[in-house]
């Protein structure tokens, strides 16, 4: 009798407890996992969504037009200022540079007759680019002669602060695109990685897959600099040409109005060339690259003259900082003259 009563009480207690626990678990589950219901009305959501529906391409085009109109009104204001200070590029080309210089469509804004035989003994390109007044006597020819002398004597100086600023200003809206040759630009600190899209060991067919990434920030200019991976990868140069043209076409399609510049495919070091028969074909690829560029309205910049055996890294493929210093001075002079 007594046992029965106790059992009944325990039963009731257990039932109450059990009920409580079940409710507890249920509420707990709802709290833990059920709270994600949206607190934003569909109207608000679509409102915010609609703020960003303009396509990036349209916006880039619109802003570019705006900028152009502004530039025009500014140049009109500046029209009366004499252009003595401009660096002369076209007028000073030597015979062996003229082939690429004709493709480097640099407009000579200066009066050709003004070109002087320059005394460049103490001048660097950076000063030329950033301090135009001081360099009005400088020609590309004499600059290259000076750089060649510095390369031969191994006295190439670091980029000065003015030159670094000039590089970053000039290429603020440029993406450098390529393999480890391009990666080095960032690694050496000439530019931030935000100006660089690269994939190590990439061949052109792989780089085609990175075009979207290049286009993501709508650069005004793309400078392509690749190394020897292709010489190893493509047995037929025709395949190299096919992929390269595809890449150029895709870049142009993805970035309206983009200017594409290609820097030479550099040969391997002499030492590496002796043991790697495939890489010796590099000049053939480079020759092909020139004609690809010429046929596709792309600017080709010959940078093979900067190569010195002493400036290869141990692998015989990549270049040290010295190469890039001269390379950047050259690019600054080619593209930064106005």
């Amino acid at each position: 009798m007594r046992n029965n009563k106790n059992a009944k009480l325990i039963g009731i207690a257990l039932a109450i407890l059990g009920g409580f626990l079940i409710v507890f678990v249920a509420i707990g589950m709802i709290f833990t996992f059920g709270l994600k219901r949206s607190t934003v009305t569909p109207e608000a959501r679509s409102l915010v969504e609609n703020l960003g529906t303009k396509s990036e391409i349209d916006v880039v085009a619109e802003l570019a037009t705006l900028e152009q109109t502004e530039m025009q009104s500014q140049t009109q204001e500046l029209a009366e200022v004499p252009s003595d200070g401009q660096i002369d590029i076209a007028a000073g080309q030597s015979e062996d540079q003229s082939a690429e210089a004709s493709q480097v469509q640099v407009v000579d804004q200066n009066n050709e007759g003004q070109t002087n035989v320059a005394d460049t003994s103490d001048q660097t390109a950076g000063q030329a680019a950033s301090d135009q007044a001081a360099s009005q006597d400088t020609t590309l020819e004499s600059l290259i002669a000076e750089w060649n002398r510095q390369l031969d004597e191994d006295t190439v100086a670091n980029l000065s602060e003015e030159e670094q600023i000039a590089v970053r200003s000039l290429f603020a809206n440029t993406i450098f695109f390529g393999d480890s040759m391009t990666q080095a630009i960032g690694e050496y600190g000439f530019l931030d990685m935000s100006n660089i899209v690269y994939q190590r060991s990439a061949t052109i067919d792989v780089l085609i897959g990175k075009v979207a990434e290049v286009a993501a920030t709508f650069p005004k200019q793309v400078i392509i600099f690749t190394g020897l991976n292709d010489c190893n990868h493509y047995t037929e140069i025709a395949d190299y040409r096919r992929d390269y043209v595809t890449m150029i076409e895709q870049l142009k399609a993805a970035i309206p109005g983009v200017k594409i510049v290609v820097s030479s495919l550099l040969p391997p070091s002499d030492a590496l060339g002796q043991v790697r028969a495939d890489l010796v074909r590099a000049p053939l690829f480079d020759q092909e690259l020139r004609s690809i560029c010429a046929e596709n309205g792309v600017t080709y910049v010959d940078s093979t003259w900067i190569v010195r055996q002493g400036n290869y890294l141990d692998d015989g493929i990549h270049m040290n900082r010295t190469f890039y210093r001269v390379w950047f001075r050259y690019l600054l002079t080619l593209f930064g003259g106005q």
């Binding site: 934003v40 608000a44 705006l66 900082r321």
Partner: protein, 373 residues
């Protein structure tokens, strides 16, 4: 007897209770079940992991957090994790700083001196602990944000620097707070209305042709509960609205996240609005370097060094600047000197709320960095 059953029951339940990765109300990732390893046992990290795992994955954790805050409320406790439960549903972060950071003052002064050719503006926005001090629980002790600010400014010497304009908004915000909501109740940010009050003062100092009527507010969120609620555990029933002030004159924007290499054509983020922290509707969060190109023909280019307070104000700036670079020093990894040399800025604005400015340690690092190839 029941106690024992309850204990056993909870133990069993906690073992069976599914693990959760993320707590939406606390806005943090929760500890996951630790893996047993010999090294872990030896150095004691395993038992630490177990402890935090059990604490984080406790069954119905959110209920307990709520019950705890309810208990605090019943007991009359209104201070948790540096936050006061103030009047009218306002959670107020206590101002704790007494130290004047001379290093930051020097870094800032010499930075602005170095760039004396650029018009610079320093705008340190008071927070609730100053403007809504009358909402604090009666007798709640705290350091005075106002005193700290005045002392900081005086000792910094920035007022006397020629190219530097100090933009003070305390009076305007205090006046506005009587009529409108200028801070969120459960979040430490200012409302977009609050930002508009601040901007009006800034526009005056910067000579921007700002007219209130050029912007139209739209409400995009009506149930906003912010991060202060989660960090204090003071669950407040009051929910706030988030408004955007859109310019009536349509504008064209290209927003580039320089580090992630992504672009957008608006400064507002749908993803942010729907995410765990709806305040991220502004810019989608905080990033090291954002570049905004606008359709403004003003020709002015702004460098904005900022914390998250600025995010709600960007919408007011875009019509008046051709280009804006937003630098959040906490996440910025580039070289600021180089960026300024390249950027050709006409204006520099340093915009922080006073609490984050007082405790910030990243700004002076970014300002003082030196360059090299």
């Amino acid at each position: 007897m029941t106690g024992v059953i309850l204990l056993l029951f909870l133990t069993v339940i906690s073992l069976l209770w599914p693990s959760r990765r993320f707590s939406a109300s606390e806005r943090r990732n929760l500890s996951q079940r630790p893996t047993l390893s010999y090294e872990g046992l030896l150095d004691g990290s395993f038992s630490d992991d177990v402890e935090s795992y059990l604490a984080d994955q406790y069954p119905a954790r959110d209920i307990w957090v709520y019950l705890n805050s309810l208990q605090n409320r019943l007991l009359g406790i209104d201070f948790q994790n540096g936050i006061y439960r103030g009047k009218d549903g306002y959670l107020i972060q206590r101002f704790d700083t007494t130290k004047i950071d001379a290093e930051k003052q020097t870094a800032l002064a010499s930075f602005l001196e170095r760039h004396s050719d650029i018009s610079s503006y320093l705008m340190l926005v008071p927070t609730t602990s100053w403007i809504l001090a009358d909402h604090l629980p009666t007798g709640a002790p705290q350091e005075s944000e106002k005193d700290w600010y005045e002392k900081w400014l005086e000792t910094s010497g920035l007022q006397n620097q020629e190219n530097v304009t100090i933009v003070e908004t305390a009076e305007e915000l205090s006046a506005a707070a009587k009529e409108h909501q200028i801070y969120y109740r459960t979040d430490h940010h200012w409302t977009t209305y609050g930002a508009s009050v601040g901007f009006e003062k800034l526009a005056e100092k910067m000579n921007l042709p700002y007219e209130k009527v050029d912007f139209e507010p739209v409400t995009v969120h009506t149930k906003f509960q912010g991060t202060m609620m989660s960090s204090s555990g003071f669950y407040s029933g009051t929910k706030d609205s988030i408004d955007l002030y859109l310019p009536k004159e349509p504008e064209t924007l290209l927003v580039t996240n320089k580090e992630a290499q992504t672009t957008a054509t608006t400064i507002y983020s749908e993803e942010g609005l729907l995410g765990n922290d709806p305040y991220e509707v502004f810019l989608g969060g905080n990033y090291g370097l954002l570049n905004i190109k606008t359709s403004s023909t003003s020709g002015r280019k702004l460098l904005l060094l900022k914390d998250s307070y600025a995010n709600a104000m960007i919408g007011f700036l875009t019509p008046y600047f051709s280009e804006i670079d937003l630098v959040d020093p906490r996440y910025y990894s580039s070289d600021l000197e180089m960026q300024i040399a390249v950027g050709q800025y006409t204006d520099i604005l340093i915009l922080y709320n006073l609490q984050s400015f007082a405790s910030d340690t990243s700004l002076s690092l970014v300002l003082g960095k030196e360059t090299a190839e």
